[in-house]
């Protein structure tokens, strides 16, 4: 129904789980959005909870500066295999 707001639906599978984006619904107000989201995302009892958010309220962030090597801040920026092997060999040599 054009002209009506889009509501993003986030659903939680079980208590303790994160809320995940499940889709969107077009509805004239929060009441209809709730009624229809209950049907689409909960009629099988498959959701513990839903968050309904007007799309206009969602602030999208999807561009990043990735100019310089910042790998030192991440696990995949480290390769310790070679040095660990050498350290173990030296320890064994001293013991032997």
């Amino acid at each position: 129904m054009s002209g009506e707001p889009v509501w993003e639906v986030f659903r939680q599978e079980r208590k303790g789980q994160p809320f995940e984006h499940a889709g969107s619904i077009v509805a004239p107000d929060a009441e209809f959005a709730e009624a229809w989201a209950r049907e689409q995302y909960g009629r099988r009892g498959e959701s513990a909870a839903l968050w309904l958010v007007p799309r206009s309220m969602v602030h999208v962030v999807d561009t990043w500066a990735d100019e310089f090597d910042l790998k030192y801040r991440r696990v995949d920026g480290y390769s310790i295999k070679a040095r660990l092997k050498e350290a173990r060999e030296r320890t064994a040599a001293r013991a032997g």
């Binding site: 129904m1 054009s2 002209g3 889709g23 969107s24 077009v26 689409q40 009629r43 999807d62």
Partner: protein, 302 residues
């Protein structure tokens, strides 16, 4: 979606999707990709919707309360799927009203099987078991669609469809172990539906000539889908003592199923709007769309 100053690099885009990459609604899409996507996804939505009308008659006639509940739930799922599917199309730029208008005017298409009449309770079983099975094979292949919003709803759709086939098979099993008249109902229904079922996945097109495959909208060829259907379901049909009305149908030693060439002329005629029930069903939908226009208008006022 920001306005583009230069067109999207189609070659680069093709490389991304052919390597298994996916794109989102907010990504810049080549216009040809976007249009083909809309057409493909819209046809899926139309099919879910048009599948409702033949089954609706039998909800009203269901011979037990349990069957009535199951059939109502199954058809409800299909309407829910149409809702999800049209929402994806809307985010690609084509509003739902336009999709529905194009459907009832005959401008857009829907799958062949929903152009045929349902005549008996036997059809209820055959449709829920075999037509849904054929559809699910295609739908599982769409889980890998390059367009991520569609791939995501396919996950929900496939999950919900899992009970449809079981329900269908239960209906069939009950009848083939029931009265001789019930067994005959199933056989007669299967005899009528076999032709459309064999046409359902479409005539074989080589993958490198199929734009749907090149754009990775589909990841499975038509013939591959049909072979999967035969491999999965013909043995199940035969083990019930039912016959398939195709004397040439057999499984070769190399695992490939041979069969009588489906009537591609019939398929083309039906999907272009000349099926036995096409006009009647579209007119029925159109009548209610018109009749209830005031309701949708009432939704728009504050």
């Amino acid at each position: 979606m920001a306005a583009a100053e230069k067109p999207v690099d189609e070659q680069a885009f093709l490389e991304v999707v052919q390597a298994g990459g996916q794109v989102e609604a907010t990504d810049r899409l080549p216009e040809e990709y976007r249009l083909k996507l809309i057409k493909f996804i819209e046809m899926h939505g139309n099919s879910e919707l048009m599948g409702v009308l033949p089954e609706r008659e039998w909800i009203l006639r269901a011979p037990t309360l349990r069957r009535k509940l199951a059939l109502t739930a199954k058809v409800q799922d299909e309407v829910g799927h149409a809702q999800l599917i049209y929402r994806v199309v809307e985010d690609l730029g084509k509003p739902r009203e336009q999709c529905l208008a194009d459907l009832v005017s005959g401008k857009s298409k829907f799958h062949n099987v929903f152009h045929y009449p349902t005549k008996t309770w036997g059809d209820v079983g055959v449709i829920a078991w075999l037509v849904d099975a054929a559809a699910i094979i295609s739908q599982k292949a769409l889980l890998k669609c390059s367009y991520a919003p569609y791939a995501r709803i396919m996950k929900k759709i496939c999950w919900e469809e899992s009970f449809h086939i079981l329900h269908g098979r239960d209906v069939i099993l009950t009848m083939v172990t029931g009265t001789p008249a019930q067994f005959e109902l199933v056989q007669e229904s299967l005899d009528r539906w076999w032709g459309p079922l064999m046409q359902f996945h479409g005539n074989p097109i080589p993958s490198d000539e199929d734009p749907m495959f090149l754009w990775r909208i589909k990841s499975q060829g038509n013939e591959e889908a049909r072979q999967q259907f035969l491999e999965g379901y013909v043995p199940q049909i035969w083990e019930l003592g039912l016959t398939v009305p195709d004397p040439k149908l057999r499984r070769r030693d190399d695992g490939v199923w041979e069969y009588t060439e489906p009537d591609w002329d019939e398929l083309r005629s039906v999907v272009t709007g000349h099926g036995p029930k096409t006009a009647e069903r579209l007119a029925f939908r159109a009548r209610f769309i018109e009749q209830e226009r005031w309701v949708r208008d009432a939704m728009l006022t504050a």
